[in-house]
Symmetry: C2
Subunit: 334 residues, 2 copies
DNA sequence: TCGATCGATGTAAACGTTATTACCCTAGTG
DNA sequence: CACTAGGGTAATAACGTTTACATCGATCGA
């Protein structure tokens, strides 16, 4: 292993100067700098991260905790986070909790002391636990906002109301009056918000009849499972908890001979790449998920690098767009 | 921050004993052990990873380098790797190279000195470069095997021949005699192997006519783009480079009024969750991708933890299964 | 009973980096 | 010319762990 000492010896300076050359280049004279950098290059020197972390009390690494990396939603988020981390010179460790709160708790506990900060996406933990964690380490929540008065845990959330409003408006304007919302797990924070937002959006529209079913398993299998039940409601338009559920509904309906959008319009959530995989391509409302990851990293790193700069600007809200594809049309269009 | 010193003070022993209690519990007496562990618990002590790494020359972290974490293929692999790492007490840092060789090179260079080992999946780097990397750090390749004689870079690969053979046999037995293979990027190692294996499997079957197109972009858009061209070949059965391409073909064909499997049979590769999303569900040949990640981690950690135990047992081959779903049937079945 | 052995614990020296302090040397100022 | 200011560099002390070695009883065999 090549260390500062080797570089120092080779370039005829002290180890202090080597370190300074790399950390604060402007503080050394021009010719020492080139000499040191040359030696660094020739020897292939790379500062030992462990040593650096130990001395500085900073690891240069942040952690992203997600429930399930196989879920395209979190995969995209991770991608965004990854790119931003690279740009800012930070490492990213991704942890998959397999949707289990106790694993999340355990991992978070382990990570908080060994990283510079945490991003926790769609957490399964209680408000109390999260507050406690945020007290102990820089922390950004995604898809979760703590409600307490004094709480100031930074978070990145989606403006569900706006997204839902756009979806409902779209369907209403097409002429739909019977609307079904196939909701996800009732314990989910996003589900609660979406459900409430849909109720509100529906209530404000004359003649619109809304039915909600909930606790659909948020996968395509879940969608398949409720496909018949959904038909039975007599709705002409369906909004699904997410794209996967929508895909499942679509697949099952197709097998049952129900045609989309001729017989039934369908809107998904999250606008993942799944929308382009199915036939017809799915109208969906969602944010750029990479941007979500991006934003979380940015928020966290700003907190870390510029400590107590501004206790304000804690939260970021990302506004979703409705992307209209081929799964929605006027009712009875055929 | 609570350190060994705090724990030592609290439990009335020296820091050495604290460290030993945690690393080699059998080497301390029973009552000291319980006393120390109690103190650890009460104080919430967690050994500082940076310090530990520095001293031991081991980080307890391995890296997984993938071209694209958004690709369900690598997402599943990552999941498998993640779970295995957790089980073995290692941390996992996932790096997405966004399919760019120069980023892969750069990241690998940075990671090899700061982790205990590397897993490089579907690498874009040259054989020479990979050999060089493997010389400098424990390394396992996935979906790549170095061919040189003395080369002994451990790898996990898929037995493409067996998988392809099963797919071709399935279609042939259904009665198909005109077969099209829609191949992926010609620079891809997997593509080369699949293409060769299909040619071989086809050659051994009387009356089977094989056409290959290649350089299809390995996404659903890529599949859509070649959908018409595929029809023009007159084949009655199509094998696609992967499930995404198959999904694209399927979507475009559906829009063109071509029905699967009535008019055309379709087989995908990799058996990702995409197979269940589309209509009809896709017949696909692939391995359990989590197992692939699993195996890579296991191979790597065995190398790290039991150094030079066995230079043999370097490679692991995973045998894919053909999962028959609804996208394949006898030709002219309708 | 005495030395050898062994088990349990303590002491202290690393690991490679960075930050603080001290130093030197040159240039500027009265 | 003496004195100071200040830029550039060197020496050195941490950071928290782990581990080789030393120490000290106690046990055991002769």
């Amino acid at each position: 292993m090549v260390t500062v000492h080797d570089v120092a010896a080779r370039s005829g300076v002290s180890i202090a100067t080597v370190s300074r050359t790399l950390r604060e280049p402007h503080r050394v004279s021009d010719d020492t700098r080139v000499r040191v950098l040359a030696a660094v290059d020739e020897l292939g020197y790379r500062p030992n991260r462990a040593a650096s972390s130990l001395r500085r009390g900073r690891t240069g690494v942040i952690a992203l905790v997600v429930p399930d990396i196989e879920n395209p939603y979190f995969a995209s988020m991770t991608k965004g986070a990854q790119v931003m981390c690279r740009a800012r010179g930070y490492g990213l460790v991704v942890v998959d909790t397999t949707e289990r709160a106790e694993i999340e708790d355990e991992e978070v506990r382990a990570l908080r002391s060994q990283t510079d900060g945490l991003i926790i996406a769609s957490s399964r933990l209680s408000d109390e636990r999260l507050t406690e964690i945020a007290d102990a380490a820089p922390c950004v929540l995604v898809n979760r906002r703590l409600t307490g008065p004094g709480e100031a845990v930074p978070s990145v959330t989606i403006d569900e109301e706006t997204g839902v409003e756009a979806a409902v408006a779209h369907l209403y304007d097409l002429g739909h009056r019977g609307l079904l919302y196939v909701g996800g797990p009732s314990r989910s924070w996003s589900q609660a918000r979406r459900s409430a937002a849909i109720a509100e959006a529906a209530a404000s529209r004359a003649g619109l009849h809304l039915v909600q079913v909930s606790d659909c398993v948020p996968t395509s299998e879940g969608g398949r499972a409720v496909a018949r039940e959904a038909l039975a409601t007599g709705a002409t338009a369906v909004i699904a908890y997410n794209d996967l559920v929508a895909a499942g509904l679509l697949a099952q309906w197709t097998e049952l001979g129900v045609r989309v959008p001729d017989d039934l319009s369908l809107v998904g959530f999250d606008d993942t790449f799944v929308t382009g995989l199915v036939t017809p391509p799915l109208t969906s409302v969602g944010v750029d998920l990479r941007e979500l990851g991006d934003a979380a990293v940015e928020l966290l790193l700003d907190r870390i690098d510029r400590p107590d700069a501004n206790a304000e600007g804690n939260d970021r809200t990302v506004v979703p767009r409705l992307v209209v594809r081929a799964s929605t049309a006027a009712p009875g269009a055929r």
